[in-house]
């Protein structure tokens, strides 16, 4: 009898694990999900509402893929885990036994105990069911005369963009005094503030939610602002103040949890043969400058790749490389490689070099060590950069001068786009009294191995 691997959660983490286990073995694999039968890309939910895609387009694999690869898909919600008997119980009473269990249940939207947070018309934007709710409560600007979004992060701004695509007035409550400035340097945060307003989003900085009020039918009627007491009438409230691991069903099990499921570097929990990956996993000790819980697409995928090796007998520690991430703020693309901390969180040795286009929404921030000039990280807005090149420079611990000299190698904008390396380097030279000559792009360097 083949070992039975059961994966709870069919997001990017669980599915990546399943795919890589299948590549390396013929173990029996079952993926359980209460959300949808087939894997879809959560990041694309917004595009369905906006009419860029249909749900079927968000599925990275055709439906026959799973049967062909002998991966069993099971729709259902797990109620409890019996670790002693290696048995899972579904909410409908069914059970399934496992030899190895992988918990990859992802996140759920944060709710901070606001009065009215469970009213009709209040929702997060994470699950497919949230999208269905939004379609129900905010199909157009007649049914939804105004929406209030609580929480200024990546999902919040996406939800705002979604609602604006249907001309629904949006009030956007942001706790910080500038959008996402716990992460972004002030220059960039200010640029996004401006861009948000240009999209006719009513951006309220330094505003917190006090309560959500109901009408006589138990539906959202308005929200009250903490600071001013102002009442804003609305039909939909989006709660996008971050996410938290989705692990309530483990409460009564003996699997050790904190905010998430606690795991070691091998993604093992305290119970043998049970692993946790993705958004719901919490590292016992931080890896480098990373957070203990990383609710990011890429890290979920990497944990899946790693765990599959372990499951297939090649015990491998989760060892993520240089940090990278990306996002899109309305029309502005954002990429980051290495670590750039905002002014609020930056350490003493970190210096910025910044450049901003005089008119367009393009800017970069390079973080470097003030003594050694070692390049620490880059944020780019409106300019695409090559992942491989920055990964290489970070691994090689290059100096900022090197990065700027060869910046053209890293540019990834479409052909014929105007390049800004000369302006960027000129600014650095002027500020630092240097004479760096930007080099022309070289294919040889781009493809050279370290």
């Amino acid at each position: 009898m083949m070992e039975h691997i059961v994966i709870i959660g069919n997001g990017i983490s669980g599915v990546t694990t399943a795919r890589h286990i299948r590549k390396n073995s013929n173990k029996k694999i079952t993926i359980i999900s209460g959300e949808t039968k087939y894997f879809f890309s959560r990041t694309a939910l917004m595009y369905i509402y906006m009419g860029h895609m249909k749900f079927e387009h968000t599925k990275p694999y055709e439906n026959w893929f799973w049967e062909k690869n002998n991966i069993t898909l099971k729709k259902g919600v797990i109620n409890s885990v019996n670790t002693a008997n290696k048995l899972l119980a579904f909410t409908n009473g069914e059970t399934v036994s496992y030899d190895k269990l992988i918990i990859a249940t992802g996140s759920k939207p944060n709710k901070f105990g606001w009065p009215g947070q469970d009213l009709e018309g209040v929702m997060g934007m994470y699950h497919k069911q949230d999208l269905e709710k939004l379609e129900k409560y905010a199909p157009n600007n007649k049914t939804c005369k105004r929406a209030v979004i609580v929480g200024g992060g990546l999902i919040g701004i996406e939800l705002a963009e979604m609602l604006r695509s249907r001309n629904i007035p949006v009030t956007f409550l942001v706790r910080e005094d500038s959008f996402w400035n716990g992460v972004l340097p002030a220059q960039e945060s200010a640029m996004i503030n401006k861009h948000i307003k240009e999209h006719h989003i009513d951006l309220r900085l330094s505003n917190n939610l006090k309560a959500i009020k109901a009408d006589e039918n138990g539906h959202v009627k308005s929200v009250i602002i903490e600071e001013t007491g102002e009442e804003i009438f609305c039909d939909v409230v989006g709660l996008t103040a971050g996410v938290t691991p989705n692990i309530d069903f483990l409460k009564n099990s003996d699997i050790e949890t904190k905010k998430g499921v606690l795991v070691n570097r091998f993604l093992e929990t305290n119970i043998k043969d049970i692993y946790a990956i993705g958004d719901c996993a919490e590292q016992q000790k931080a890896i480098g400058q990373r957070r203990n819980i990383e609710a990011v697409w890429y890290t979920g995928r990497m944990m899946g790749e790693t765990l599959a090796q372990t499951i297939c007998g090649n015990k491998t520690a989760y060892n993520p490389g240089n940090w990278f991430n990306s996002a899109k703020f309305l029309d502005i693309e954002y990429q980051t490689y290495g670590w750039v901390f905002s002014e609020k969180n930056k350490k003493e040795n970190e210096l910025y070099f910044q450049w901003k286009h005089p008119k367009e929404y393009k800017c970069i921030t390079i973080s470097f060590d003030k003594d050694t000039h070692q390049f620490l990280g880059i944020n780019t807005f409106g300019i695409r950069m090559r992942h491989e090149i920055f990964d290489k420079w970070l691994t090689e611990k290059r100096a900022i001068e090197h990065v700027l000299e060869y910046l053209a190698d890293a540019n990834f904008d479409p052909e014929f786009y105007k390049l800004y390396e000369p302006q960027i380097v000129a600014k650095f030279n002027k500020e630092n009294n240097k004479k760096i000559q930007p080099k022309k792009k070289s294919w040889k360097r781009i493809f050279s191995k370290t």
Binding site: I12, H20, K23, S41, T43, A44, Y47, I48, M50, G51, H52, M53, K54, H57, T58, K59, P60, E62, S165, E198, H199, W297, Y298, R301, M302, E305, T306, Q309, N314, T316, A317, Y318, N319, P320, G321, N322, F324, S326, A327, K328, L330, D331, E333, Q335, R384, M385, R386, H387, E388, D391, T395, F412, D413, P414, E415, F416, Y417, K418, W443, F447
Partner: protein
Amino acid sequence: MKAIKHTGFVLFLVALTIFTGSLFTGSFQLSKSELDAFLKEKNYKSTVIRGALEDAVITDKKLTIFKFSARVRKAYEKSNSYYDALITKYNAAKNWDKKGEQYQYKIYGKPHTLSYTLAKKAGRGFVKENASLIWFLTFGFGMIGALLFMLPNLILLGKPGIKNNHIYHNSATNRGFVAWLVLIYLVAFYLLLYFKPDYVVNWTYILDPISNFLNGGDASQWFVYGFLYCTIMVTMGVRMYIKYRHNKYQIIRTTSVLFFQIVFAFLIPEIMTSLNMPGYDFKNAFPLDYDFFFEWNLDTLTSSGKIGLFILIWGIVLTLIIVPVMVYFFGKRWYCSWVCGCGGLAETLGDPYRQHSNKSVNAWKLERWLIHSVLVFSLVMTVVTLYCYFSGTTSFIGINSQWIKDTYSFLIGAWFAGVIGTGFYPIFGNRVWCRFGCPLAAYLGLVQRFKSRFRITTNGGQCISCGNCSTYCEQGIDVRAYAQKGENIVRSSCVGCGICSAVCPRGVLKLENGPEEGRINPTEILLGNDVDLMNFVNKK
């Protein structure tokens, strides 16, 4: 702004209605002297055709084009069946000499084409007599209306950026009933153009003044098609300029296809015709230009002096050297989405429908079978044609030269490239012909796949599998399948339109020409994960 848009839409519908309605106008008859002139020019040997045509077209009745066409076709049929009867008769009598004599009296040609030639001379009425006014009411109103409809988007769509909102909420772009209406209109248009040209003779009158100005002769149905093609591409090109105004690659590429369509496909051939040269589209490469090696073309070219010889050599050099060398350096995009007329229409008129291409693995299989079959078909046809041309025979390896040419022209030239290729835009996407049928695309694709510097680079591990790239790939390539694995996209069918790169929200895709080494990069573990693990997997 909305009001301007609506006005434009109404104006466009008015133009379309007048354009379509014009087909049903006018009366068709010939005077005795006009018919005499026609018969003299044609020099038919049949003794029956004169009487038959006199009965058919010299009349006081106000015949519509449809009745006129029926009468003319009947007249030709009458003549031919008269001689067919004689053939049967002499055949029965075993009078071979007499039987053989009859064939010279028969009149060959497609009935609707014969009818078209007469109809062109026979038309009278408002459209013909007021060509400039009708031109303004149809082409003029149509273009102004369309522009009024599209220009407000500069403001209505907001800041520059990807503007795909509501594509799947709109009946016209989500295979709704508007899309089906457009499909029916387009299919009907192509069926008339290819198979019943006499029915659209009224349209040629609208363009007679322009045709006379350009080449000194009246407009044919092909002139109408060419002119319409250019106006549609220009108008829808403006839409591209607005929609992708933030993307320089799209702006330059759109300008390029417009230039090659208007100058190379339309103006130069017209001007050559007016100079008594064979009209030739210098960018139309064999085997897309499938009749380049047909007898009539070879005869025309070899009897046209130096220019004919130049065209002959250019055509061969274009296909054998220029096309593959350019594909090596730039990918097949240099032709398919920068130069080609079919590609030009697909990238302008067809852009709103690009999301309808089928991305399934089955569609990919069908694509490879179909497109390579058409390539083989076109090559076999050409070999047979050339052999017969030089040897003076009528068939080769058991294939009749005329039969295979007719079959190809009908199945591939008319049905596949025209009726299905363009007519089905609104439902099956804008590159049906280019993906499944074009023999030149098949040839370019083979070069692109095996010997080219072109690829779409995937940016390390940045893909989030959202699927915008696959959704908007007009060639039905599942771009995401590669991108989410960190692999570059190297596919024979990619025409390098650049839209996958444009719609990507995370800056993952870039079209580029670079060294062949490392172009195809299979990766099992994506960038961003531990380096040792990558080494482990790569070693395995």
